[in-house]
Symmetry: C2
Subunit: 205 residues, 2 copies
Amino acid sequence: MTEKKQSSNVVWHQATVDRKMRETLNGHKGAILWFTGLSGSGKSTLAHAVEDALHGLGARTYVLDGDNIRHGLCGDLGFSDAARVENIRRIGEVSKLFLEAGTIALTAFISPFRADRDRVRGLVEDGDFFEIYCKCDLAVCEERDVKGLYKKARSGEIPEFTGISSPYEAPENAEIVVDTAQQTLDECVAAVLAVLREKGVIQAA
Amino acid sequence: MTEKKQSSNVVWHQATVDRKMRETLNGHKGAILWFTGLSGSGKSTLAHAVEDALHGLGARTYVLDGDNIRHGLCGDLGFSDAARVENIRRIGEVSKLFLEAGTIALTAFISPFRADRDRVRGLVEDGDFFEIYCKCDLAVCEERDVKGLYKKARSGEIPEFTGISSPYEAPENAEIVVDTAQQTLDECVAAVLAVLREKGVIQAA
């Protein structure tokens, strides 16, 4: 930090802690882990389990999901097409801020449209964005129906519900695919961590 | 992390890394340092200098300012009254996310209206929010006019410019007041750090 005597003609020196410096302090790289999949496919659970594992390794992490976004940053948005696009846009921009802060940001939203996910990918550099497809048959998600949403969607109480009355566009080039109907949670977590090690986000064990 | 064999009838265990766990890992508390003051009062420079000092102490920090917010998260907002309120609202919500992530979030926006700042304060618990008033005479800010904005405001090229054609509501109960026209940058940084130590955000030196 450089000090300059303040006067009306002197501009203070601008100190800047950058992403690289934060990553050095943290001992790992920043990244965006973007979990996508149907309602009930286990996105949020997996994101939190991956965070738990990363935190256990000393990494700086944060999960963005419905719990902390819907009533806060995106509390003004409804469920129109435009609102859904804006919702994902804002989440993408916030993920980017966490990335620049040297954090591993994990997001858990259905994010059904390829274009919306690709727009977030386009905000950051190659290697910063990991699309994680939580693959799970609709029948399995609907049978689970943990929140009772599929029942409401089938009855028409919830309109435009992904998988029922609105499309889910599966990723075509996801960095990671897990099958949450077939794999255990630990297997899915291990699959994600293996890729993060391989790509140098975290150090090899 | 608890593993449960996945089946359509079993809900995966939900792991949760919370703020307290992140703060323990970081060795300091999360906080929001909200710098407010006229254009040219040194908010952004001081915020970055405080970040630099905190980073040097090993703290996890992130500065939100015009550079990373205006073209990103708030790139859709204009300068109407409603847009300005929404701008500060979103910045407040993002600061809260960084706070929950165990980070010291520093924000550097004019944020001229008391009601907008108080709304952000109300989002978090007592002791999480530090309003830092960068006090500086309008005449000094205008004489500096680093970005040439005051000249444009006086000529009417920029309408509703804070201090010229739109009011600045100075904080009445700011946690920290610095006089950037009278104090050196290092003095201002030291004043902020002293309060953070006193309030237990960072450890005493």
